[in-house]
Homo-oligomer: 313 residues x 2
């Protein structure tokens, strides 16, 4: 397949590498010049489950792809949420009538952006358990195993996703069809919608927050807002299950001493956050559905205040 | 008059000094041993509008006053909010049938604590514009001018407060009767209920917060909760006036670069905050009056989380 990895950070690098190794015709598109230069000069490197590998994969800056002759069968979206619209704008000449677009971004409501460029029948929403890290420009660190759940938003449903699933599975990416992808997406968003914003605003790791005597009440209030919005979209959430998953983040023996990604973005790297696509998305949808979402709104506002106070970019 | 200053920090020291200088029989009661020792050994010192003064005023630790023979005509309460109940418990043997109790604490709802010890007819609520600082134990810094508004909660009203007003005015403390003290208290609480919690949780000075593009929306949401609760208690708030006063805190030319007192307490001095008596009081009263107060609740929870994460005491 002709595949565009749109956003070739840590996760995009993993998918690009594995799909390239499975003999697909992969190109990477990204906006980080230093990363692009390294991949161009020395190939995409990775420590792949302990083995050092290098693969020559074409890579382009997203500002320079509008004239490239490449007819994509599949686009996999892995940008930061706020970069999605711009990325689709840049690559739209490579998206044809039959190009499937698989969205694996964190957060909620990306289909509202994608459908400006792609018919619903070609949009596939996914949720992945794969992980990945970058050691530096051009160098990924890829350990462990994962999987992908995905669902086509068109009337064809499963039929329209079959080729994509087969392609991902040839690359050992463990994809399977889901009739209920929104529930998985909302469930993951609940974890991000609590841990990310709260640990960032409190300048705390997950255990530090989770061990306070207000953690339960705060988390329940936020999850209730997510669940109310999700219910309107027929994405039922098992709240006990969600709360249990959130509590597992507090465990000091596993991931409790880590800071979530938003903390890394804002507090460590002084970058703007994805809050508008997590809690902020619940606020927008809440307005649309006439559901009160004060906790998501206040948390979104506080994170934006913090971004501005720190001069994040 | 026989006067107990219950809580002899910065403001208590100002009132104690000025009332002592006006020939009242003042005693100070406090819980900070080093401060008490300094006052006992060298007198209460102050830089009083540029002049260095010292006054010998009796001072007692609040744990040691239960056996003192002192029949108070007036008690002026200046403790931290969370210390109020305990202080009243300690000094209650000095409070008689005719002792007036003037409460000048920041925050809301202290009358609910005081009325456990004192009949309503003897409770006087006040709001003061005086300021004061401590340079260290036993040494106050007292600059500028101020005033006090006060109101008696009993049926006698003004009549029951006249002697107290006269006494305060002999000491040049500029007291006057108000028929609407709750409105002033709520107005001041709105300033504290926004600047204190928000600057503390955002680790920001007042200008830094005020200049963000979310400041207005956050402040309006919080003030609306205060106003809804105040309205039930017939304390009308002029919301535009309150918002204007809050915005004046953002001015970099005046106080905008300062951190509010709660920031000093928690972030600088690692002490527990008074949030339960500001935003937390609105939450309690909101429950009682069936008014939703999600912003005050979430802010109160976040401050408590921060206290616990920092191990404040």
């Amino acid at each position: 397949m002709n595949i565009i990895i749109a956003g070739a950070g840590a996760m995009g690098s993993r998918f690009g590498l594995m799909l390239h190794q499975a003999k697909n015709n992969v190109i990477l598109v990204d906006g980080w010049q230093e990363h692009i230069d390294c991949i161009n000069q020395e190939g995409l490197k990775a420590n792949f489950n302990g083995e050092e590998i290098v693969e020559k994969i074409p890579v382009y800056h997203q500002n320079e792809v509008s004239n490239i002759e490449f007819s994509a069968d599949l686009v996999i979206l892995f940008t930061k949420a706020m970069q999605l619209d711009n990325m689709l704008q840049e690559i739209k000449s490579m998206i044809g009538q039959n190009t499937k677009v698989l969205c694996l971004l964190n957060g909620i409501g990306h289909e509202d952006v994608i459908k400006k460029y792609v018919p619903l029948s070609n949009i596939i929403l996914g949720n992945t358990m794969w992980t990945a890290g970058l050691e530096g420009p051009g160098k990924a660190k890829l350990f462990g195993n994962g999987s992908i759940d995905l669902q086509n938003l068109g009337e064809d449903g499963k039929g329209a996703a079959e080729e994509v699933i087969a392609c991902l599975n040839e690359a050992k990416l463990n994809a399977k069809y889901s009739d209920n992808i929104l529930s998985s997406i909302y469930k993951k968003a609940c974890v991000n919608g609590t841990m990310n914003g709260l640990c960032t605003i409190l300048d705390s790791n997950m255990a530090g927050f989770g061990e306070t005597n207000v953690a339960d009440d705060i988390v329940k209030s936020i999850v209730a807002e997510f669940a109310a919005v999700a219910a309107v979209e027929k994405a039922e959430l098992n709240i006990d299950e969600v709360l249990t998953q959130i509590k597992s983040c507090y465990n000091r023996e596993t991931i409790g001493l880590h800071h979530p990604s938003m903390y890394q973005d804002l507090i460590i790297n002084n970058r703007l956050t994805e809050i508008d696509y997590i809690n902020g998305a619940i606020v927008r949808k809440g307005k649309q559905y006439n559901i009160e979402t004060p906790y998501c709104l206040f948390l979104t506002q506080l994170i934006h205040a913090k971004e501005q106070i720190l001069g994040a970019k």
